[in-house]
């Protein structure tokens, strides 16, 4: 399954305008400031991972980009076609798989489009299944198809692999990368799994207390193995997240939880 080296699109150096542009964005809930003075650009077709602890404001940022939370007149520019994959699949249980994918689509060949999207996530055999009969990984693939069928300029992934077992997660990583290469949407992956972020993204942003605390460009060729360069990035990112990395430790498997002797887990 080795792929030719993918040249990561660099940020808006010159000509193409960024897919996402946030300027000086602040969001408060009551007394709490969740996001403050954020400036973020995501290039066309760029894969960005957003890392942060719980409560760092990651989900708020994603919801704002999705249009689920109001931008309150601040500068938040996004493509018109956006789609989210949530942590839980959120399929409508009373609609069959293909109708879930076709949800909200209009036009002539809705069923064909849904079928094509489901074929891309290898679920052609479950078109007429009820969501309740799907496994966790299958349901999440349906959710991915439902997002992709809209041909989004911006694909928002809200910890979509967090609830999957480790093996399924690895397969999903490969699938997401393949689909991203094919459809080239800009991607914002919200995660708290450092390894997942390094494995997938062109660029990793670390969000801490509502600000971008660090930014790390990942220029490693894909597929990425946890080699020395990988580990160096990982150590730096964990440092930004306020986690001291213990001295030598065995290389973790891809996408696994990172457990620390203190018992703290950084996933």
């Amino acid at each position: 399954m080795s792929q030719p080296l993918h040249v990561t699109p660099h940020p808006p150096a010159a000509s193409p305008p960024p897919a996402v542009r946030i300027r000086d964005f602040t969001r408060r809930f009551g007394q709490t400031t969740v996001l403050r003075d954020l400036d973020i650009d995501i290039g066309q077709g760029e894969f960005v991972a957003l890392l942060g602890r719980s409560g760092s404001g990651k989900t708020t940022l994603l919801r704002t980009l999705a249009g689920l939370d109001p931008a309150d007149g601040q500068t938040v520019v996004t493509p018109a076609a956006k789609a989210i994959v949530f942590q839980d699949p959120r399929l409508l249980p009373w609609k069959t798989v293909w109708r879930n994918v076709a949800l909200g689509l209009s036009g002539a060949n809705v069923r064909d489009r849904a079928e094509a999207a489901l074929a891309e996530v290898q679920l052609s055999h479950r078109l007429d299944a009820w969501p309740a009969t799907l496994s966790g990984g299958e349901a999440q693939r349906v959710a991915l198809a439902r997002a992709l069928v809209r041909e989004p300029g911006l694909l928002l992934l809200d910890e979509p692999f967090a609830a999957l077992d480790a093996l399924t997660r690895i397969r999903m990583h490969g699938l997401v990368l393949a689909l991203w290469r094919k459809h080239t949407p800009a991607v914002l992956l919200v995660t708290h799994d450092v390894d997942e972020a390094i494995t997938l993204a062109d660029r990793v942003l670390v969000l801490n207390e509502g600000r971008i605390a660090a930014e790390e460009r990942i220029d490693l060729p894909r597929p990425r193995d946890p080699d020395a360069a990988f580990h160096a990035i990982r150590t730096r990112l964990l440092g930004h997240l306020g986690v001291e990395v213990p001295v030598r430790r065995p290389a973790p498997t891809e996408g696994a939880l990172v457990a620390f002797p203190s018992g703290e887990m950084v996933a």
Partner: protein
């Protein structure tokens, strides 16, 4: 006995054993037999309670003569008319209250106040208002069935998983599409619970409503039978009421298996 319990190897196809300890049908049958026996030995005189065999014979006669079907149709029509009105009003109010805050503010307090008054307590008022014809009977059934429909559908609409609504909104659904594809299907299970209750209530109120000077219907049959001390006819009507209750339950059950085919419990079965 001990030998039997030790040796558990099946020896060929066995006849199903009569397990008296599990026979739930036994006590009802015994009661019927005792009842029949009591009637035949004049321990239970017919004016107190007719014998089961007499009841069966009367049921047959009343069916053949057309007396029972004719009155049954009258009662069914009353119950259906009342239930239909209750459904329309209940669904309309529940959707208005469930889908908008203003609707809830306007409607829900009134419904909660009304809920504290037992529907049957309105009987005298309805007789004063509507006389003793069909109107008070149907109105009583309509009022009684409105509430279970309203309460369950309202709760169902409000109970639809907010995460599903959010997901659907993120895929561009809004307004009528959101209601049709997400909110109503999500509220359907609760609605069907309400419908089942409403059918039970319709039957209960029917029994009482038909005591109001009915000229036809099961209640009329019972009243007449009471005047002539025909306990057999009274019991026949009770059987019919029970059958109606069972039938109503069956209707909702089959509706559920069709409309809720997506539920895990129905998928596996």
């Amino acid at each position: 006995m001990s030998l039997l319990t030790i040796d558990r190897k099946p020896i060929g196809p066995r006849l199903p054993r009569l397990q008296l300890s599990r026979a739930r049908w036994l006590s009802p049958v015994l009661l019927l037999l005792l009842w029949e026996l009591g009637s035949r030995t004049v321990a239970i005189p017919p004016r107190i309670l007719a014998a089961p065999s007499t009841v069966l014979a009367t049921l047959w006669e009343m069916t053949i003569s057309g007396e029972l079907p004719r009155n049954l149709v009258v009662s069914l029509a009353r119950a259906s008319a009342g239930l239909a009105i209750g459904l329309i009003v209940g669904v309309t109010l529940a959707l208005a209250a469930g889908l908008s805050r203003q609707g809830e503010t306007a409607i829900d307090p009134l419904m909660q106040i009304k809920r504290t008054i037992p529907s049957l307590a309105l009987t005298p008022l309805f007789i004063v208002w509507f006389g003793i014809g069909e109107a008070p009977k149907i109105t009583l059934i309509a009022v009684g069935t409105t509430f279970p429909i309203y309460l369950n559908l309202f709760a169902g609409v409000r109970g639809v998983d907010a995460r599903l609504i959010e997901a659907a909104r993120s895929f561009g659904l809004k307004g009528l599409d959101l209601i049709l594809h997400v909110i109503l299907p999500g509220a359907l299970p609760s609605f069907l619970v309400g419908l089942r209750y409403a059918m039970g209530v319709a039957l209960l109120v029917l029994v009482v409503a038909e005591q109001i000077n009915a000229q036809a219907g099961l209640g009329y049959l019972i009243n007449n039978a009471r005047d002539f001390m025909r306990t057999d006819i009274i019991v026949v009507c009770l059987i019919v009421y029970a059958a109606l209750g069972l039938a109503a339950d069956q209707i909702v059950r089959s509706l559920e298996t069709r409309a809720l085919a997506w539920r895990p419990s129905f998928i596996t079965s």
